[in-house]
């Protein structure tokens, strides 16, 4: 079962402490479990471009779709047995302490079914 962990910034969270960021350990644990698929940081919303097509015209917007103080700072696509295991990994992620982790189950699209 695949889950996407969305790493979300949270202005109300405790201040980020670089020495307590054990992301390398976390990734190593993910790989040891065989749960890692892909994951990375994301550039901030100021580097985002939002694309919409209306009436056949492509419209580009500088920045994210919504004005929000919370933004997606990274993601990890993982493959685990069940929600409990996904929660366990999310809770161990350093950004669960300095931000928030949203656990989203994948909803596989059955093409050609």
């Amino acid at each position: 079962m695949r889950y996407l962990l969305l790493i979300v910034s949270d202005p109300a969270a405790p201040a980020y402490i670089p020495e307590e960021d054990n992301i390398e350990e976390w990734v190593a644990d993910l790989e040891r479990r065989g749960a890692a698929i892909v994951g990375d940081r994301l550039r901030p919303p100021s580097d985002a471009t939002t694309v919409t097509v209306r009436d056949g015209k492509t419209i580009l917007t500088d920045g994210p779709f919504t004005e929000s103080k919370e933004w997606i700072a990274g993601f990890d696509l993982i493959d685990v047995d069940n929600l409990d295991e996904a929660i366990e990994l999310a809770a161990a992620h350093p950004m669960a302490r300095f931000g928030r982790v949203e656990v989203r189950p994948l909803w596989p699209l059955e093409l050609g079914a």
């Binding site: 079962m1 047995d81 069940n82 929600l83 409990d84 929660i87 656990v103 189950p105 909803w107």
Partner: protein, 438 residues
């Protein structure tokens, strides 16, 4: 179908419905929980069981009640589920696996190592109480699936429409499926935390029933009995968890006073004014036994007391005191102090101040109330004002107590409580015709 022969007289319908009601009460949870495990489909499990009960209603009067009615219902419900899955197989190949697995499931429960808790009922309870579900959804799903309340009854407990409740239950079951919440008793490293989550739901059910009184409402008061029944089951299935035993003890102690806590007019009777001969001594004895078992288990584990153990110890002091005056309030105050460390809450602090007032005098209680600065959290809570008023009254300052009684009256949520507070205000007015003249 010909009429039954003389050797097989038709079974009286009343006998059938009585037996069926008993079997449903004792077997429903086990059968539904097992069907959910084997089919992975909550709705199918529920519907198959319902179907089996309906068939029993037509079959049993004709052929007689089977020797083992529970086994009969299990087999029929399982066959109904298999048929439904086979039918679905022709439409969707994906479910074939389920039908196959179900057919191959041996009748005997697979035996597990001794230290593993293997029981479908517990699987179901833990899944309904999973912390990834919102608390009110956990309670709703537990009422509906574990206790077997109808959607209408469940809606009534939450005071929402049947339609709203139906939607909420559908969404909750959908999340269990889509997010793949495992249908299991949590592994040992998650067990203490998840057990605490189950106990919170059970206690919420209990207090929901307990605090609803004994008016014309028949569903909510019955919840207290149902919650005790379920806690007893969980305690049987997890006999080595001190907090489970402690919760059962706590519920039994509180429930033992059910007959004494309201008077004939439906008004609240304070603990100190209750007729202790009305207390259910069987419940108190069982509660004491459970509390002792919880304390022993805790001692063996070498762990510190949890919140339910401390609350059960407090309840035991009240339940076993021969008179209100003979209650060991000093110990109760100490237990509340420990409880406020284990599970800090302004309500616990308020109760601690009350216990201090009873053991050291109302002025000590009032002083503690002032240092705890509870108004920030409990300013809108009628019992904070009622407590302050009561302690002032006991300290002989009835005039000072009046404004606090009036504030409590404004905030009190129920009629019996409002009547009680009004009577205190009336007494205060009559005993002090000119307030401030003391």
């Amino acid at each position: 179908m010909p009429a039954p022969g003389p050797e097989q007289p038709p079974t009286a319908t009343t006998e059938v419905s009585t037996t069926l009601a008993e079997v449903v009460a004792s077997e429903r949870l086990r059968i539904v929980a097992t069907l959910i495990r084997t089919t992975g489909d909550w709705d199918l499990a529920k519907d198959s069981f319902h179907d089996a009960v309906t068939r029993a209603l037509t079959t049993w009067p004709e052929r007689g009640i089977p020797d083992n009615p529970g086994a009969w219902l299990t087999t029929v419900a399982k066959n109904v589920a298999i048929d439904a899955l086979r039918k679905a197989t022709t439409e969707r190949k994906a479910t074939k696996r389920h039908a196959h697995e179900l057919t191959d499931t041996p009748e005997e429960e697979t035996t597990m190592p001794d230290d593993t808790i293997d029981d479908d009922r517990l699987r179901l309870i833990f899944t309904c109480c999973h912390p990834a579900l919102a608390l009110e959804n956990r309670v709703a799903l537990t009422l509906r699936t574990v206790l077997g309340l109808s959607v209408a009854e469940t809606a009534h407990v939450f005071l929402v429409s049947e339609q709203t409740m139906q939607k909420r239950l559908v969404r909750t079951r959908a999340k269990i499926r889509s997010a793949n919440i495992p249908y299991r008793v949590p592994p040992p490293h998650l067990l203490p935390e998840r057990t605490a989550g189950v106990l919170a739901v059970l206690y919420l059910l209990f207090t929901e029933g307990y605090s609803s009184g004994s008016g014309s409402d028949l569903i909510r008061p019955a919840l207290a009995d149902e919650a005790i029944r379920l806690t007893r089951l969980v305690a049987q299935l997890m006999p080595h968890q001190p907090e489970v035993l402690a919760l059962l003890a706590l519920e039994l102690f509180q429930h033992s006073r059910a007959a004494a806590r309201l008077d004939a007019a439906g008004d609240l009777v304070l603990l100190e004014d209750q007729d202790r001969s009305l207390w259910n001594s069987d419940a108190i004895i069982e509660g004491s036994r459970m509390l002792t078992a919880a304390e022993k288990t805790l001692h063996l584990l070498g762990a510190g007391p949890g919140p339910f153990l401390l609350q059960a110890q407090i309840a035991a002091e009240h339940a076993t005191a021969p008179t209100a005056a003979a209650t060991n309030f000093a110990r109760i105050a100490t237990l509340y102090a420990r409880l406020s460390q284990v599970a800090p809450s302004p309500i616990v602090d308020l109760n601690r101040a009350i216990a201090v007032a009873f053991s050291e005098g109302p002025d000590a209680g009032l002083a503690l109330l002032d240092t705890l600065t509870l108004d920030a959290h409990l300013g809108e809570y009628h019992l904070l004002h009622a407590t302050r008023a009561d302690l002032l009254r006991r300290a002989g300052r009835s005039a000072d107590a009046l404004p606090h009684y009036r504030r409590a009256l404004e905030l009190a949520p129920s009629d019996p409580e409002r009547r009680f507070l009004q009577s205190r205000i009336d007494q205060g007015l009559y005993s002090n015709p000119s307030p401030g003249s003391e």
